[in-house]
């Protein structure tokens, strides 16, 4: 049986109907057309579906759609301010912190969550904060450098 859910996604008020078993990831991708979050595993192990829920980093495959009621959700689609990319997005491009790019939305969201709480993380803090996001292409080197560089730029701003 479907239920109606009211929520805020990327600062927009959104209403959707979903069944009780549907995950937030399924709702985002299949009902709302927000396919930026990816399903790499469906079990919370890969972080490709990362979103920020009321300020906390979560795997949207482990959250039910119904739980989004009256919550605030940030996805990769909401990171840029119009044509102006978020510093993390810019630095990921400049450092070539993506190869295939399937994990990129999750990494950007996880990195954003990190820098919101800790604007000046050490390399080790970055590595542990991103340990829930799997990347198979890059070996993480350029991702860590991009986050370091973005953090530096954001601290100056």
């Amino acid at each position: 049986m479907s239920q109606l859910v009211s929520t805020i996604i990327n600062n927009d008020s959104v209403e959707f109907a979903c069944e009780a078993h549907e995950t937030l990831l399924e709702v985002l991708r299949d009902r709302l057309g927000l396919t930026g979050a990816k399903e790499g595993c469906g079990t919370g192990d890969c972080g490709a579906c990362s979103v920020i829920l009321d300020g906390a980093l979560v795997c949207s495959c482990l959250v039910l759609g119904a739980e989004a009621q009256d919550r605030n959700i940030e996805t990769v689609e909401g990171m840029a301010d119009g044509a102006k990319l978020h510093p993390l997005q810019t630095k990921f491009l400049e450092h070539a912190a993506l190869q295939c790019g399937i994990c990129t939305p999750g990494f950007l969201i996880a990195a954003k969550a990190l820098l919101t709480n800790n604007p000046d993380p050490t390399e080790e803090e970055i590595r542990y904060a991103l340990a829930g996001n799997l990347c198979r292409c890059t070996g993480y080197d350029k991702i860590v450098r991009a986050v370091q560089d973005a953090a530096k730029q954001m601290r100056r701003a």
């Binding site: 069944e19 078993h21 991708r29 927000l34 396919t35 930026g36 979050a37 990816k38 399903e39 790499g40 595993c41 469906g42 079990t43 192990d45 890969c46 490709a48 996805t75 990769v76 689609e77 990171m79 840029a80 990319l85 997005q89 990921f92 491009l93 400049e94 450092h95 070539a96 993506l98 190869q99 295939c100 790019g101 399937i102 994990c103 990129t104 939305p105 950007l108 080790e124 970055i126 590595r127 542990y128 991103l130 340990a131 829930g132 996001n133 799997l134 990347c135 198979r136 292409c137 890059t138 070996g139 993480y140 080197d141 350029k142 991702i143 860590v144 450098r145």
Partner: protein
């Protein structure tokens, strides 16, 4: 440093720079569309029913209840994918793997599929399909499978490559042998001979994007498919053959691909999606779950390798011998053969013999994984090379340099090498600051070399010049990690225009001629060759048009620095200012219509590739846990078109190798079922597991490519297993012979040896 080849002295304007990639914005904003991001009107959800048994005869499949469930639009079994393979055994094996026929051969083997209005209905339908199995005894271990009393996968499997043909069936599908000289004589000349067995466990490519496709079959017998693949032309060929349709009636579009590493060079669910769509007359989307990816796509081989090497006290290797058993899954492949060919390829050997045995087991079909089969062989050989260096008291780098293959060396797989790059990578390693970095407590250093064949193959590119002077380059090789940027750089270089004026895109199967897959490190190598030729082809026409604009003979027009220039005597020529590509493009409506360059070629001459890696690890003697603390990759790129993406390939290959060396393995239970089909229990390296990975790009131009380019994608996964094993041995003085060197294995080795 002296290289084996002459530097060609080419200078470049665009090639070698590091611009942003054209597909980058889409990928950081979530707009890029991968396999599972495509949807069609009226689309159904497809799901596959898979065998829970490792080996069983399919007695009967009853689909009647599933068909009657409301919302189910099609149910298929092997009868809906009839055998049209006409004696082509390789194609038959592909078909049998996509949908099991008489028997299931592994846990996860597809037996039926449904298409329904939604996932919930499709899941319910799968539960209503009744499969009557006669369970058979199974074998999943590569060594067990070769034993005389092992359960047989195929009763008609008589080992190929043995004369006379064996009378008794076995699980060894074929035997291949390479080498030269006489190893027995060589061993007699040796002062030290070491012999050991090495094992590596089965690993998966671990791409983050599961296989996904949308198939749409029309009642007129034509179809379209959107799929994440490393080769949409090859997928089209195989799917069309299995479904009995002309190639031109199946149009395949490659979506953005979320990693492949060889795993997306094979078809799995695609023919199933097409067959479902054909039966339901509606588009069908089929996306594998992560569990399905592990259980039923194609991991690499598990191996058991016997190595014997003899060496003189002065460091000369006198003989090298190897028997390599590689698991193939249920169908015969070439995996042990590739191991046999690559194992000793780094060395100049007088006496060498390698024997590869393709072993059939009840595991999923083995597939290519980045430099397929080479990492395991390199693990065994490079571990032993290290041990021998230690035994005769020689520095491991000096020992390798002494025995390294060079121009004129007869390779262990047969041919004599032309100019090759292993020497320079070893020299660079010897001089690298990493070699002098201080090691801490419980830390050790190891190094290893790796070899891989690169190849080229069929390639096709179109280059269209728009009226405003901007250029679209359409290629047919999939971009797995920045190739579009590299190819746009190459086109810009050749045309003499800005990188920003070239947009590189991947065309679908209807827009270009056949292109081989992005495998064998061929994507940038081959398509850059095609892009250069297409640009040169367009330049000829640009010169024609300039001649028309100037009303002079075309022989008096040359192309230089992105401009047509008039060359001739007299005042008339002196007044003719050079025409830019944009100037000429602007007049195309009047000078003969649009300008396009094209190129269809077989990109041969890829040349072999070598790398040397250096690695420091720290081993916790209490727990056996190993952490990589420093890592350096040195590899020849020929010419790095976009150095940042070349570094990325080096780093990515090293990281996959580190995972393989320390953590990753398929674990089968006694019941023949895979016990860890998920990223929680099949643990690939995470960010906190790894250090920064340093890279050194050597550029020894490939004489067979106009810009000297070499493929760079695969070789970087070859040395890590051995480099890490050697580092572990240095740190805690135990020789590890079984990969992955997980904490329990290291702990066990520490307890046994100390």
């Amino acid at each position: 440093m002296t290289y084996d080849t002459q530097f060609t002295g080419q200078t470049f304007k665009s090639v070698g720079t590091r611009p942003l990639r054209p597909d980058g914005i889409d990928k950081v904003t979530g707009r890029a569309r991968y396999g599972a991001d495509y949807n069609l009107p009226g689309q159904l959800t497809g799901l596959i029913l898979r065998s829970p048994h490792a080996h069983a005869r399919i007695k009967k499949i009853d689909t009647r209840k599933a068909e009657k469930l409301k919302g189910v639009k099609a149910v298929i079994t092997s009868t809906d994918l009839p055998d049209l393979t006409d004696g082509d055994s390789e194609l038959f094996d592909i078909l049998d793997n996509c949908m099991a026929r008489k028997k299931v051969f592994y846990d996860g083997h597809a037996v039926a599929a449904v298409a329904a209005i939604d996932a919930k209905t499709a899941r319910a339908a799968l539960k209503l399909i009744k499969v009557d199995y006669q369970v058979l005894s199974h074998v999943t271990d590569v060594d067990e499978a070769t034993k005389p009393k092992a359960p047989l996968l195929h009763r008609n499997c008589f080992t190929e490559g043995i004369e006379p043909k064996p009378a008794k069936a076995s699980n060894i599908a074929s035997r291949s042998e390479f080498g030269h000289g006489d190893v027995e004589v060589g061993f007699e000349q040796a002062d030290v001979v070491v012999e050991r067995n090495f094992k590596t466990e089965q690993t998966h490519q671990g791409y983050i994007e599961p296989h996904a496709c949308v198939a749409s079959f029309g009642p007129d017998g034509s179809a379209e498919m959107w799929v994440c693949t490393q080769g949409h032309f090859t997928f089209r060929q195989q799917c069309a053959a299995l479904l009995g349709m002309p190639l031109s009636k199946l149009r395949v579009t490659s979506t953005e691909i979320g990693g492949g590493f060889g795993g997306k060079t094979h078809i799995w669910a695609e023919p199933v999606a097409l067959a479902l769509s054909r039966k339901a007359n509606r588009p069908v989307k089929l996306v594998m779950s992560r569990e399905e990816v592990f259980r039923a796509s194609g991991p690499t081989s598990a191996t058991s390798i016997d190595i014997k090497i003899g060496v003189k006290k002065d460091g000369t290797i006198t003989a090298a011998d190897a028997v390599l058993r590689y698991s193939n899954g249920p169908y015969p492949g070439v995996w042990a053969m590739l191991g046999a060919m690559t194992s000793f390829a780094c060395y100049d050997l007088k006496n060498v013999r390698t024997v590869g045995l393709e072993v059939l087991v009840n595991r999923p079909k083995t597939t290519a994984y980045r430099a397929p089969s080479a990492p395991m062989a390199a693990f065994a050989v490079e571990s032993m090379v290290d041990e021998l260096a230690d035994k005769i008291g020689m520095d491991p780098v000096a020992f390798r340099i002494k025995n390294a293959a060079k121009e004129g060396t007869k390779s262990s797989y047969g041919p004599v090498y032309g100019p090759i790059g292993i020497g320079p990578t070893l020299e660079a390693a010897r001089k690298h600051p990493h070699m002098k970095a201080k090691l801490g407590k419980n830390q050790g250093r190891g190094m290893a070399c790796g070899f891989w064949f690169n190849f080229g193959g069929q390639t096709c590119a179109d280059l269209n010049i728009a009226v405003d002077g901007s250029v679209t380059l359409t290629v047919g090789t999939i971009d797995v990690g920045g190739a579009r940027a590299s190819l746009a750089l190459v086109a810009a270089e050749e045309l003499g225009i800005d990188y920003d004026d070239v947009k590189a895109v991947v065309g679908d199967t209807a827009s270009l001629g056949h292109n081989d897959m992005t495998d064998g490190s061929r994507g940038t190598f081959s398509s850059s060759m095609a892009a250069i030729m297409a640009a040169r082809n367009a330049i000829e026409e640009l010169k024609n048009r300039a001649a028309k604009m100037w009303e002079i003979p075309v022989k008096n027009v040359i192309w230089e620095d992105g401009h047509a220039k008039a060359k001739g005597r007299g005042k008339k020529y002196a007044k003719l200012a050079p025409l830019s590509l944009a100037d000429i493009a602007a007049e195309t409506p009047n000078t003969g219509g649009p300008i396009a360059g094209y190129s269809e070629l077989v990109a041969d001459g890829a040349g072999v590739s070598f790398a040397t890696h250096i690695c420091d690890v720290e081993v916790d003697p209490e727990t056996g846990r190993t952490q990589v603390v420093r890592y350096t990759v040195i590899q020849d790129a020929g010419k790095a078109v976009h150095p940042t993406y070349v570094e990325g390939q080096y780093q990515g290959g090293a990281a996959q190798g580190i995972g393989w060396a320390l953590n990753e393995e398929y674990i089968y239970g006694a019941d023949g079922r895979l016990q860890n089909p998920g990223f929680l229990d099949y643990r690939i390296p995470v960010c906190s597991d790894l250090p920064m990975i340093d890279t050194q790009i050597l550029e020894i131009p490939n004489p067979n490519h106009p810009y000297g380019v070499r493929g760079v994608g695969e070789t970087s996964i070859v040395p890590p297993l051995a480099a890490i094993a050697n580092a572990v041995s240095d740190a805690v003085d135990v020789r590890m012979t079984h990969v992955p060197m997980s904490a329990p294995r290291i702990l066990k080795a520490l307890k046994t040896e100390h």
